[in-house]
Symmetry: C2
Subunit: 150 residues, 2 copies
């Protein structure tokens, strides 16, 4: 198991234990985790608190993101994709994209948008990540749809 994906999964589980959505994220530089976070929409009543946004917030202000890798247990939506594109994160590693293939828009999908914007996207197709979201969505379909604005 990739240790950074494991850290993102740990964050997702923490979110679940708080009554939130099980989506976690870490930001890595030079083999070190410099920020970590999880979805806190429910916990904070904050629709912007997606896992990747929470992680980037917790990492604090950075002079550059050019030497960072953003991990997420789930394919990022357009909000989180937009953050990676704007701040110049060159590589995004995702746990899975089976339960959520990325945000949808008239333009296309958020994963394709990251790649069109020059980001390297690595999908680890992780079974733990898939099962975690499958279980959550089956039990909480309304909460999940709200999270992605459906």
């Amino acid at each position: 198991m990739d240790p950074f994906l494991q850290a993102a999964i740990d964050e997702a589980k923490l979110g679940l234990s708080e009554g939130g959505l099980p989506i976690g994220s870490v930001l890595v530089r030079g083999g070190q985790i410099i920020g970590r976070g999880h979805n806190r929409r429910v916990q904070h009543g904050d629709p912007m608190a997606h896992a990747e946004i929470d992680c980037l917030k917790n990492a604090g202000r950075q002079a550059t993101y050019k030497d960072t890798v953003l991990y997420s247990t789930l394919m990022p939506c357009f909000l989180c994709t937009g953050a990676a594109v704007q701040f110049g994160v060159p590589k995004v590693v995702v746990g899975e994209s089976i339960t959520f293939p990325g945000g949808e828009s008239k333009w296309g999908r958020s994963g394709d948008f990251m790649e069109a914007a020059g980001i390297e996207v690595v999908n680890l197709h992780d079974a733990t990540c898939i099962q975690m979201m499958r279980d959550f969505i089956a039990a909480n379909p309304k909460l999940w749809n709200e999270d992605i604005g459906v």
Copy 2:
């Protein structure tokens, strides 16, 4: 003066008075402001606290954004564009795009991305908004560049 742009300018001025960047935003539904915010990167040490994200956060959880209009004193970057696309905000009104023509990426600019994703973008070319950002960028070029990840 559009009263919602005026409210966004008031938010921007509040941010400036706190030592932050003068960028403000409001979310409108049915002629009522349901959320307002301003850039708080400096105030909260939070690189994700762009004006539009702060505004959408302060508006709280919404069942839908299909009947909302997002105002910003400045052309939104990819982070904020991404939020509007993901959550289905159909219309974005911007104060100006002279001091910042939108986020840049290998794909193209964030304003064009909003339009490609089906969002109606209205630019009010407001002189107050332009002057406010011109003055700020001239006095704080490093802080401004950090805000947009340059």
